[in-house]
Structure formats: C-alpha cells, structure tokens
Symmetry: C2
Subunit: 287 residues, 2 copies
Amino acid sequence: METFFSFLSKRVDDCSSLLCVGLDPHPADLPAPTADAARTFCLRLINATGRYAAAFKPNAAFFELYGPDGWSALKDVIAAVQEESNRLGSMIPVILDAKRGDIASTAEAYAKSAFEHLGAHAITLNPYLGKDSIDPFLAYKEKGAFLLCKTSNPGASDLQDLTVDRGALTEESPSTVHRPRSIPLYEHIAHLAQSWNTGNNIGLVVGATQPEALTRVRSAAPDLWFLVPGVGTQGGDLETALRSGLRADGRGMLINVSRGIARSADPAKAAAQMRDEIINVKYALKH
Amino acid sequence: METFFSFLSKRVDDCSSLLCVGLDPHPADLPAPTADAARTFCLRLINATGRYAAAFKPNAAFFELYGPDGWSALKDVIAAVQEESNRLGSMIPVILDAKRGDIASTAEAYAKSAFEHLGAHAITLNPYLGKDSIDPFLAYKEKGAFLLCKTSNPGASDLQDLTVDRGALTEESPSTVHRPRSIPLYEHIAHLAQSWNTGNNIGLVVGATQPEALTRVRSAAPDLWFLVPGVGTQGGDLETALRSGLRADGRGMLINVSRGIARSADPAKAAAQMRDEIINVKYALKH
C-alpha cells in the first residue's frame, strides 16, 4: 500500500527537490483582501514553482479568513496542485497546514474535512491532546500527519522547551539506548511520534531556527520526515539545518519556504535557486 | 470597557445559570450529513435552551466538515444566538470551540476569522506554540480566549500530565506563595494563564473527568473562568467538579453539556434540569 511518505519520497526522487512551497496568501501581499485574490495568488505560485516543489503547503488560516468563499478558494488551490501535477506528469503532495487538535468524534470531523472534503494528502496537527486526538487522522492509512514538535517562533520556548521528567515512561521508545530522565518537552514528543509511527504516516514539524533542537529531534526520531519552517525570513540557516536534520539516507526533511518565494520578483527563479541550494548543500555535506 | 468575562458575568447573573450548551451537530445525530441539517439541529437547540444557557459553544469541526456550506451554517448559528438573545432581552455569549494555535500573522488571520467574520465572542486556543500565538487573539480586548489546560479525553495524560521542572522559571506566577519545583504540565499552563491575564480576557479549558486536576488548576489560577467539558456522557460528576473548581465568589465555571442535552427527547427540559442541578449543588456547597 502507498503511504503518504512513500508518495512523498517518489515525488522527491522525481524532482530532486526537498523544497516545500508554502501557500500563505497574507492579506498584505494581495491586491485586495478577498478570497478571489488569495486564490489567484496561490494559483500563480503553483504554476510558477510546481516544477521545483516536492510538496505544497497551504495554510488554512489565510482562507478561513474569508469564510465560505475562502473555504472554496482553499479547495480550488488544492485542486490546482493536482492539475499542475497532471501537467508535469508527477504527483505533488499537498500538506494542509491547519494545526488542528481535538478529541474523538471531533477529530474525525476535522480529518474528514481535510482529507475527504478538501483532498489534502497530509495535515499538520497539534499533539497537546494526546494520542487519541491523532488516531482519527492516522486511520486514513494513505494520508500523513505532521505533529508540531518544535516550532520556529520565539514563544515556542514557553512550553516546548520545558524540561519534562520521563521517569514513569518506559515503553515509548525502545530503540533509544541512552535515555536521559529529563529532556525538553519537544524531544519527548519526538520520541512519542517515533513510537506511534507504526503505519508510516507520522512526521514532525521542527523549525530551522534552533539547529540544536533539530539535532536532538533527529536523534529521537531517526526514521521520521520533518517539515521544517523558518529558513530565510525567520532567520534559520539552510546549511546548518540540513546538517542537523537530514536522515542518514539524505532525505527526511522538507524545507518549507513561503514569503521568500512568494514575495520574490520571480517566484520560479527563487524556487529553482532554493532547490539548487539544497542540492549543493547536500552534496557538500556528503563530500 | 466591557471585557468578555464581564459580559459573561452579566449573563450568568441574568439567567442564574452556569450552563454552557454545546452546539455539536455530530453527523450521526442528523437526519442527513449536510450543512443544512447541522444548521437546523443547532437552531432548534438554541431556541429550546437559550433561556437556560449562560453561553453557547459551537464546535468548528462539525461545520468545517461540509466545506463552504458548513462555514455559512456556522455563521448562521452564531447569528441565531444573537437573535435568541434579542428575543430574551439578555445577550448570550458565543464561545467558538476551534482549538486554534498558530504563529504571528497566521494567528491574526484565525482571530479575524473567529471574531470579525464569524462574530464569536470568545474562542478556545491550544497553547502549545506559546504566548506569541495567543497575543493576536488577546489584542481583541473585548473578546475572550480559553486556553486548553487539562482536557477530558483519556489521551490528555500523554502530554498534559507530564511532570515539568520549573526550576528556571521565576516570574510567571508571583501570586503563588508555595511553588513546588515539579508540577504537571497542565498546572504550569494554569500558572502561565493566570500571569498572562492582564487584560481580563483569558480563561482555561479544564475537564471534569479528573477533579483533582480541577482543584490544582483552581489553586494555580484563582481568578480565571474555566470552561468545563466532561460532565455526564464522559463520566465527570457535577458535584465533585463544582466543589473542586468554583471560585470563592461561586462563579468561574461554565459547565459545558453537549450530547446530554442535544440527544435528550426534550432538550429544553434537559437544559432546565441541568441549570437547576448546578444551582442546587452550589446551594448545598454553601450550606
């Protein structure tokens, strides 16, 4: 069976790229703050950068903003990635950045919305409510779920960096030989995610702004794909991020760039350059 | 200036009720899984229970499920609470249960969606991304934000019960005289929320299923309003919950009931009984 991550790996092979293009139609970047303008903005970006994109990541907030019209635009944007994929002859996955998190039947409704109604291939989720809030998404075995682990914003440290005592926990990460008793909360989530990933459909969101966190998370979750925001505009360094977070097989990271491409005078060129930079850094790291 | 919590307190006085009626149109409870059916379901519930409701709480997931039509229905449902309020001559606040959480300009977009587009008076938020993910909501000074603290689901223990080391933290809760170094993560969030509440617009979501958690959170956040799910269907006991969580002034808790009212043969009667039970328990606790 194809899982989201086998689908993603195939696309990464096809396009030699680890670039995820963020589709964030900030009202300030639009000629007018309307759903139509948001749709047009994204469609142009998809058309310009599709060739270089391992994945696209629309953020739900910038569509919800416009109510029903925005929701229609979001659906159109996801469909447009499908059309661009057909044009290119290589399917490009769509990760819906929604950061949802709710319980039981409510989580089921969110999963249905993202995967069935909108047609996204993966979603970002907030793990604060625990495993049973993730399960309804994992029940879609061919879809993916990226759990927030270490985000790229300054406030991330308020909770994510807290030191947690794992004294009472013994089973979640049998693969870890050295298990310190106290670790940051974000690292604990990485251990949980690695142990929950029995269906090969869990990834992690790990910001590039704190490379030491990337290193710790890679050590805790050696197999997982990371969705990595924060390179560029937010100050994260690409080479340091790749060195800290790439898997042994040279994959396992999707470098997300939103404003750095969307606000460029030539988004196609900016995306091509970013793809090439990633290739060059990967090459240098190997040699 | 009126804040959300002064608005809520006024309504609580008007209707002598601490009952929050959940508007969760589960597809299984509808004649057909459509946005129209979800709207009708909620409108009937609002009309039947408005008199007894200190607040209404629609959950966004059960509307998102239907895409643009669902989003329209959600807006209609919130508007219907306004109409019911006008009919009753007493404004009933609407808490949008959306559990959002994102950074900077993205959080601004979510806040605009909830407060300006949909017209909700308060929202539930996931605090995992930290203070800067909450700030754009707090910037709406007359609106409210309930932060997830201790949820009522079994998986809540995965993260929320972890013991965190507060050794490095000294400023977040100057009001606490006795400050143990290690406390559960949910209790730490309660301390943070109490210290962040400088604008009287923060509340907490604390489930009724673990009364000892209610007690700890009340001690950490003596001033805050709690939105309390989990009484009834999920097994939480009303009397124990009220005894554990009520503020010294006999307020500070909104007891949320969804299925227990919506699935009743006579929702008006079920809501009236719940309001009366709360009054009776409060009376017994005082005498």
